[in-house]
């Protein structure tokens, strides 16, 4: 009997043991889901850190009542500055509107509604427009040049921004950059050992589960051996069974992981977190499926051997 036929027989025979097969499938799926969740967390943290780690962010406040035309000219210069990544600017009027909009969800939540009668539009500060106390501001992000040390570079940039005409105050957080750099170093050092440990756990759990499932087919293996079946004749269908379990279990885990990611996204992509949880990249999804399938196939071979 050809190997292909033996594989097909192994797959067809799965229907003979529905309950052990179902239990094994669920276990493989759960373990793969656990591993996938770990990957998902690692991937999203890494993405978030990478997004911010090489950037320095400054909040610039101009003096209240500064000449807006001059300020806008400075903004135009900033947008053309070398290494600029992102510039968000707010005129005093825009800042006031932003403030009103920012307060809207809180007031519409019910706690501050009622007497003011403007629950749907938030606090009304339009009476301040004539004498707006808010300054013009800009949120500026720079990509730190690769050949520069972050902190001295940020110090120099801080001094330069602080020296702009009409600027009252410049804030930045060097700790954020230090934390990000530290996190990247930690991830680079710990990621592979952690993933290796995870793979070991997945391998052991999936392997032992499959070995337990093989107990359901112990009689079959014994009878095949008694009638003179060669080892490959016995092992090939069991191997196929393990591979199919690994493949189906890991694919099912990806579906579950997609639901989990959608749910996390809806939960975390709200103020003040605004965390956009992304799904695993294609190569990581494929790696998860491939690794689980290989482990399952290997475990079934070992189980059949014993």
């Amino acid at each position: 009997m050809s190997t292909t036929k033996l594989f097909l027989r192994g797959v067809a025979d799965m229907r003979r043991f529905p309950l052990p097969q179902l239990c094994t499938l669920l276990t493989v799926c759960m373990v793969a889901l656990l591993a996938g969740t770990g990957l998902l967390i690692l991937h999203n943290v890494q993405t978030e850190v990478l997004r911010t780690q090489a950037q320095a962010r400054f909040q610039i406040y101009w003096k209240v009542g500064a000449d807006l035309t001059a300020v806008e000219a400075q903004w135009a210069d900033l947008k053309r500055a070398p290494g600029i990544a992102e510039v968000s600017t707010f005129t005093p009027r825009a800042a006031l509107s932003e403030l009103m909009r920012g307060l809207a969800p809180r007031t519409s939540g019910g706690a501050l509604t009622g007497a003011e009668g403007n629950a749907s539009s938030g606090e009304d500060f339009s009476w301040l427009e004539g004498d707006n106390p808010l300054p013009a501001t800009a949120l500026v992000s720079f990509n730190i040049p690769p050949d520069e040390q972050p902190e001295p570079w940020m110090g120099r940039m801080y001094a330069r921004l602080k020296g702009l005409d009409g600027v009252e105050q410049v804030t930045y957080n060097p700790t954020q950059l230090t934390l990000a750099t530290g996190w990247i170093a930690l991830v680079q050092k710990a990621a592979w050992p952690a993933l290796g440990f995870f793979a070991l756990v997945v391998g052991l759990v999936v392997g032992n589960t499959l070995k337990l499932m093989m107990l359901a087919r112990k009689d079959e293996v014994e009878i095949l051996s008694l009638v003179g079946a060669r080892p490959w004749f016995i092992r090939a269908p069991l191997f196929a069974n393990g591979v199919v379990q690994g493949l189906c279990g890991s694919l099912l885990s990806l579906v579950c992981l997609k639901f989990l990611q959608s749910w996390l996204r809806s939960v975390l992509d709200v103020p003040p977190l605004f965390l956009k949880v992304e799904f695993l990249p294609l190569w990581q999804s494929l790696a998860l499926v491939l690794a689980t399938t290989c482990v399952a196939g290997l475990a079934s071979l070992i189980a059949a051997r014993k």
Partner: protein, 237 residues
Amino acid sequence: MVHLEHVNLTLGGAQALKDVTLHVERGEFVFLTGPSGAGKTTLLRVLYGDLKPKSGAADVAGVDLMRLRGVQLPELRRKVAVVFQDFKVLPERTVFENIAIALEVRGVSSVSIDRRVRAVIRALDLEERSYAPCRELSGGEQQRVAIARSMVVNPELILADEPTGNLDSDLSRHLIELFKQFNTYGTTIIMATHNREVLSWAPEARQVHLVRGEIKPPPPGSPGSVLDTKPIIGGSL
């Protein structure tokens, strides 16, 4: 066919077979008798390569059991068919599939499998149950399936371990007749039993009596007694 010389075997610290010397020629029908725990099943397990003797010399169907390695086991098992008291059929598979499996492992073509399985099903009067799962069969029918599985490959030697143990008297007799018929075609049969009635149905068969792992003379007057009929060829008795 079977040549054992001074075979010893220890299981769990106890001497399971003690200095067993037994020679069975091609085409012989031999009963292994003795009380429970005498070592009948152990001796059969040695003969189909499930247990390896500690010492002595053992040759079955041209295979040296003392030098038998795992990869050679299928070769031995293709020459030696085994029938058990508990049938050892696959309950979820049909009668046809249970019998065909013995041919499939040998790489026989599906056309030939179909022809040979149908022939043996007919011979054992299982035609009406061909496509029934074995779990739906009676004990007698399941044992016939097990025998059909051993017959379909035309083995050189059939080892039967208390094959009538779970059957009533009529079915047991029918079964022995099947084995006798098969023996007339030249297949060597070694059957373990402690049922004296079974011995009486095949009085021409040789009897080898085991007591505590040793071959002893069978009780006087028992059917097929080696003392009453023919001597063991080259045996220690």
